[in-house]
């Protein structure tokens, strides 16, 4: 067993050593970032089975259970951390060749985002959750401005909204501490049923505001389209694939493990449905391809929150599968769209015409990603959409089933519009030279088809993760040791 603390500690260490590597050789930071991400993936593969069947509790500094700041790595955490780090590895490969100017500072912040999101997912301490959220969002603010131009305004907007969110998050943590007297998640979960329900409702709403910013929930997602359309491609991808996934994970942790009150799921469901409907409808009208993908990402987050709020084990595992698929597909879409945009020299969808034969790999990547989101058979999105519809029908929530189908129809509208532009129109204007994205697109496409044709690869993990979310007793006894 390799100690999973290294997943957080190593990227942080390397991040601050980046100037040194840059001093030795200009090309070294990219390679070091790649190696760090690969090392993280290796740690996760080594620990995967143990975390799945025998959740690990790592107490930092060897203090005893309720006083220690602990990491909890169970099925849910290992699933999320695996998704985050695989995405980070793919993007580190993508960063070796890129269309925009980046330097060692970029890699420092990139590694900090990996450390922050992995920490968000693994931590068992409420205040550490706040610190890791801030690490990843401050790194994200910094990364946004790397493409210059209009990105400063996007970054300013992101900073303001993110900082307001962090104030609310801190208030929620303060009230939780004042009412429970501990910051350990297991102890809070243990004490939650004795809490005043009114107070609990206020606390969870404050948490929803604070974390909703990372999880792209309405109405806190005003920064998403601006940041996603202005930031460099790999930043957009990691925000969409890793940071928002970690946000949904923390939201699940707080709403299911910590404050498991069925009355609260109505809030989640309402917010999720509003996010879904607004996201899809606005995405349909976008002319800018990156903004379109950003709104599609918002809609997917809304869909996941809606389905998780049904609160049956089938629905939660479907939601988690959709989350994994969304991370894979959106990263694929953003990488391909980034290449298409720099080839056309414009972000407008109408300027992308006829790139299908000029940029075959990126166009194919975009097509695969779009089909996956739509849920065409043999793509991973098909299996998860089937599970979503199945679980919402079993829970007798016909409205949600109808909404999922409605969302799919709108998605067909706007994704096929782009595919039609790329493949079935002639190109008259010139094509710019772009980076080669063969390896990232290949890796992600393999994941898409592997999960689509053989979903058993992941279903055990998903079921165990859903079980962990819905049964907080196991979590509590594992951390506190039957106290």
């Amino acid at each position: 067993m390799v100690n999973p603390v290294l997943i957080i500690a190593l990227p942080l260490l390397i991040a601050f050593l980046m100037p040194l590597f840059n001093y030795i050789h200009k090309k070294l930071p990219a390679v070091v970032a790649l190696l760090t991400a690969a090392f993280n993936v290796w740690i996760i593969t080594v620990n995967f089975n143990e975390a799945l069947f025998n959740p690990m509790v790592i107490e930092i500094g060897n203090w005893q259970a309720p006083f220690a700041i602990n990491l909890y790595i169970g099925p849910l955490a290992i699933l999320a951390v695996a998704v985050i780090n695989v995405i980070a590895l793919v993007l580190a490969i993508y960063n070796l060749e890129h269309d925009y100017e980046i330097n060692d500072k970029f890699y420092s912040l990139f590694l900090m985002i990996i450390a922050g999101t992995s920490g968000m997912v693994m931590t068992g301490d409420l205040f550490n959750l706040f610190v890791f959220i801030e690490i990843s969002s401050v790194a994200a603010y910094g990364l946004t401005v790397f493409s210059r131009g209009d990105s400063y305004e996007a970054a300013f907007k992101y900073i303001i909204i993110g900082a307001i969110g962090s104030v609310f998050l801190l208030m929620a943590i303060g009230f939780t501490y004042a009412s429970v007297g501990s910051l350990n998640m297991a102890q809070i979960a243990n004490a939650a049923e004795n809490l005043n329900p009114q107070l609990m409702r206020i606390i969870t709403l404050l948490f929803m505001v604070g974390i909703g910013i990372e999880a792209e929930l309405f109405p806190l997602n005003l920064w998403v389209p601006d940041v996603y359309s202005e930031a460099p491609t790999s930043v957009t991808s990691i925000l969409s694939g890793a940071v928002s996934a970690a946000g949904i994970y923390s939201l699940g942790r707080i709403f299911f493990t910590l404050f498991a009150d069925p009355a609260l799921y109505t809030y989640l469901m309402v917010i999720g449905i509003i996010t879904l409907v607004i996201g899809e409808l606005v995405a349909y009208n976008q002319e800018n391809i990156k903004r379109m993908l950003a709104y599609s990402s918002i809609a997917q987050m809304g869909l996941i929150v809606t389905i998780i709020s049904i609160n049956t084990s089938q629905a939660v595992s479907a939601g988690l599968f959709q989350l994994v698929n969304h991370s894979i597909l959106k990263v694929l879409l953003f990488i391909s769209a980034g290449v298409l945009v720099s080839a056309a020299g414009s972000k407008k969808i109408k300027d992308l015409s006829g790139l299908g034969s000029k940029k075959p790999i990126a166009s194919l990547g975009f097509a695969v990603g779009a089909m996956g989101i739509l849920g065409v058979p043999f793509f991973n999105g098909f299996v998860s959409k089937l599970m979503l519809i199945n679980s919402s029908l079993n829970a007798e929530k016909i409205i949600i089933t109808a909404l999922i189908l409605f969302a799919t129809i709108v998605e067909i509208g706007y994704y096929l519009k782009v595919i039609q532009k790329i493949y079935f129109e002639k190109r008259e204007t010139k094509v710019f030279k772009t980076a080669n994205v063969f390896i990232p697109v290949l890796v992600l496409t393999v994941f898409v088809f592997a999960l689509g044709i053989y979903p058993e690869l992941i279903t055990t993990t998903l079921d165990k993760a859903a079980n962990e979310l819905l049964n907080s007793t196991e979590y509590i006894t594992t951390v506190l040791g039957g106290m």
Partner: protein
Amino acid sequence: MISFLEEWSFFGGSILLILIGLYGVITKRNLIKILIGLSLMDTGVNVLLVSLGYVENGNAPILTSIIKNNSGAFVDPIPQALVLTAIVIGVAILALGLAVTIKIYEKYGTLDISKIRGLKW
């Protein structure tokens, strides 16, 4: 009346500070003033956290040796530790925000958000 003020001025005052900051962030058109509002919100939440851990007549935490007879009654140290971290994070965000403001000013020559094209609220 006085006892009521004593009891509630910490909570009420800090919540008021947060709301004043929020009002500033939402209504002001000047980038610097928005950041000042943000800083007020940060301060408000820090005061709130410290006041949550306050104990009547409490001493400075942990150092028991200098207080012989009343070692149990010190203020809760954990919120203070949290606030130290939160202050550092707040300063980092503020510095980053000001740096971005400088860049926006270089580009547009104004700090008024209604005149900055890309910034749609």
